[in-house]
Each structure stands twice: as C-alpha cells, then as structure tokens.
C-alpha cells in the first residue's frame, strides 16, 4: 500500500478568519494577562496575526493554526510590554527585595482583593509574566529565561514569589467566602 502524504499548503485567508472567529478571545486573554493593558493586548494580537500571515509559508501542520498564532501573540505581548516598560526588565527587578517577607507580612501589607482576577494584581510585572508563562501557558523555565534574557534561577525565584503571593490572596478570598 502506498502511503499518500498530502503536503499541507500555507493557511488561507479564510482559515485565518475562521481562527480569529474561534480563538481570538483566547489570544486576547493571554495577551491581557501578560500586559494588563487592553490596548497593548489588542495590538499584540494584531501584530501576531500580521506576522503569522506574512510567515504563513513557514507554518508547520504539526500544530494547529490557532496554537501557532497563540504562541506568536504571547511573544508579541512580551515584546510590547518590555518596550513600554523597559525599566521593569532589568536584573534589579528580578531581585525584588521581598524574599524575606513571610506570607503573614504580605497579607498584612496588602489590602484584601475583592475578586480572584485581582489576585494577579498583587504580583510585580516580572512575577506575573513568569507565572502566566509557566503555569497558564505551560512554557518551560528555560524557555522563559531565554525569552526574558535572565538565568533560570531568577525565573524560579520570581515563580516562587508569585505562587506564594497567590496562595495568600486565594486563601484570603476563601476565608472571606466562609465568613
């Protein structure tokens, strides 16, 4: 039996429109989690779509078009965030001096957040981006370190702080619910 391997051609305009209709809320949400700015998130998705369109010949059929654009959108969001707040991405920011802070101190030093969505607001840009990329976008630590141009240790520290703060925030929310 002769296996017929059909080579996939580049995605068409109709496929891009279908992808936007199906998955743009997911791309937008991912970009919004990273940038926390609606305009930047909108621009990130638009940049991603145009980049994907211009490079559609390079699209590998092993992944879906939606997933491919999602990844490009996340990269665009990171680029725009760094461009808008370059000072936040230096080494110092990765060494935020709250390593010694205990959960109780974090708790005491911050207001109770009213919703789960606001829990992410307690994180610094660096902590939030590392957390979102690692735990919500499933990037590997090494990939995050490469993208942010820091070593893996820094990323792990930021992740540790982020998760610790989120645990406190979420515990606060639960205790509020029980009261």
């Amino acid at each position: 039996m002769v296996a017929v391997i059909k080579e996939r051609s580049a995605p068409t305009k109709a496929e891009f429109h279908a992808a936007i209709a199906r998955r743009s809320p997911g791309w937008y949400s991912a970009c919004l989690r990273i940038t926390r700015n609606e305009h930047l998130a909108e621009d990130a998705v638009q940049d991603a779509l145009l980049n994907a369109w211009n490079k559609r010949e390079q699209f590998q059929s092993s992944s879906s078009l939606e997933t491919w654009i999602h990844r490009i959108a996340v990269n665009s969001a990171l680029q725009l965030l760094r461009k808008n707040k370059p000072e936040r991405w230096n080494e110092l920011e990765f060494e935020v001096a709250d390593e010694s802070a205990t959960p109780a101190e974090i708790h005491a030093g911050s207001e109770l957040e009213s919703s789960l969505a606001n829990c992410l607001r307690r994180l610094t840009d660096v902590e939030r981006v590392c957390f979102v990329l690692r735990h919500l976008e499933q990037w590997r630590v090494l990939e995050i370190a490469d993208e942010l141009n820091v070593n893996e240790g820094r990323v792990k520290q930021a992740l540790f702080r982020a998760v610790r703060k989120l645990r406190v925030s979420m515990a606060d929310l639960r205790s509020d619910d029980h009261e």
Binding site: K13, F16, H17, I20, S24, P25, Y28, S29, L32, R33, H39, A41, E42, D43, V45, Q46, D47, L49, L50, N51, W53, N54, K55, K83, S115, L116, A117, C119, L120, R134, H135, L136, V141, G153, K156, Q157, L159, F160, V163, R164, L166, R167, M170
Partner: protein, 212 residues
C-alpha cells in the same frame, strides 16, 4: 529552589484562568479581520504580473497613482466627514473649548507624519534590526494617533492611520527583499506626503477662517 515544590493546584490554576478570561470588543475583532484582508489585498496587488514593457519609473508611477487614488478616496472620506471645527466655533461659543484640542491634535499629527517621512528616508541606510526598530516606533506612534482620532470621533481618520500599519509591519519584516522594501518605502512616503498636504491645507483654511 524548585518551583515544582510550590505550585498551585490544577483547580486553583483553572480558577485563575477562568477569572482572567476576557472577550475582545467586537470592533477590535473586526479590526483584526480587516488587517488580514488588507494584508491579503496588498499581497495580491504585489503578485500581479508586471507589464511587459517594464521600466522602474513607470512601475513606480503606477504604484504611486494607485496609492494616491486609494488614499485620496480614504482622505476624502475622512475630510468630508470631519466636522468643520472653525465654523462650529464661530457659530456656537460653547463649541470653542473643543476647537483647541482638535487643533493641537492636528498639529501633533502633522509633526508625526513629518517625522515618519524623515524616518522613512533614513531606512535605506539601516540594517535589518535597526530598520525593524525604526518602523516599530512609527507603528507605535501611529497607533497612538489612531486611538486619539477615535476618541475625537474621527473614525475615518483612525481608519486611514490604521491603513498604514500592514505596510509598515511588512517593512519591518526580516524576509523582505530590498526591491520590495524600496517599493513600500516609496509608496508610504508618497502617501504620507498626500496626508501632510491635506493637513496643511486644512490648517491654512482655518487660518483664513480666523482672519475673515
């Protein structure tokens, strides 16, 4: 330190994911669809067979005239729909506070176009990375003015500004050939000149209106 020892549960992660899910506004989704249509259209135009008696100058003028017609229509639409600021100002004193910001906006826009025009002439002498950086700066400024135009209820002007974006982004691509880059650069410079001329005319018309 191992981040795997300090994870949130899958349920907690899902809760955060759900709570931070957001739907893009419909007009933004429409803009994304438009962006793909524009990019496809430009590509189709670029892929059309060249005339047999090809000469660089005739090709340039062909592209220039096409761009001029397209932009002429777009500018005609936004100028035509634009509110006559000075007339309203004199007809109704209450409209005066709005005239100043609109005028400042036009001046800012004019400066942006002039700066962009200058930057585009510098593109020839830049390497890929610098070119991308330079073009992305123009794109960022362009987006800022498009948003301001939208806030000023000049949706048509915002659309004209956004029409520059696919071309600018294509210019910043690494895989663009020198020929295509030159063609797009010339096209953009030409289109910017047209918009600049229109803006100067509007400013001059307003000055006349003040003097009379």
């Amino acid at each position: 330190m191992n981040e795997d020892n300090d994870k949130l549960s899958a349920e907690q992660l899902q809760q955060i994911k759900d709570a931070t899910r957001a739907a893009p506004p419909p007009h933004v989704v429409a803009r994304w669809h438009d962006a793909i249509d524009s990019a496809a259209e430009r590509e189709a135009i670029a892929a059309r067979p060249k005339p047999q008696s090809f000469s660089p100058s005739s090709f340039f003028w062909g592209a220039a005239i096409t761009a001029a017609v397209a932009f002429g229509v777009a500018i005609g639409v936004f100028i035509g729909n634009d509110k006559p600021v000075m007339t309203e100002t004199y007809a109704n004193v209450e409209a005066a506070p709005q005239a100043q910001p609109a005028s400042a906006f036009s001046r800012g826009l004019q400066v942006h176009f002039q700066q962009s025009r200058q930057d585009l002439t510098r593109l020839d002498n830049t390497v890929n990375g610098e070119r991308a950086e330079l073009v992305m700066n123009i794109v960022q400024q362009n987006r800022l003015f498009a948003r301001m135009a939208k806030q000023n209820d000049s949706e048509d002007l915002a659309r004209v500004l956004r029409a520059f974006e696919p071309v600018l982004l294509r210019l910043s691509s690494e895989d663009i050939t020198p020929e295509e880059a030159e063609r797009l650069r010339s096209q953009l410079a030409f289109e910017l000149d047209i918009v600049l001329t229109k803006l100067s005319q509007r400013a001059s018309d307003r000055t006349d209106a003040i003097e009379t």
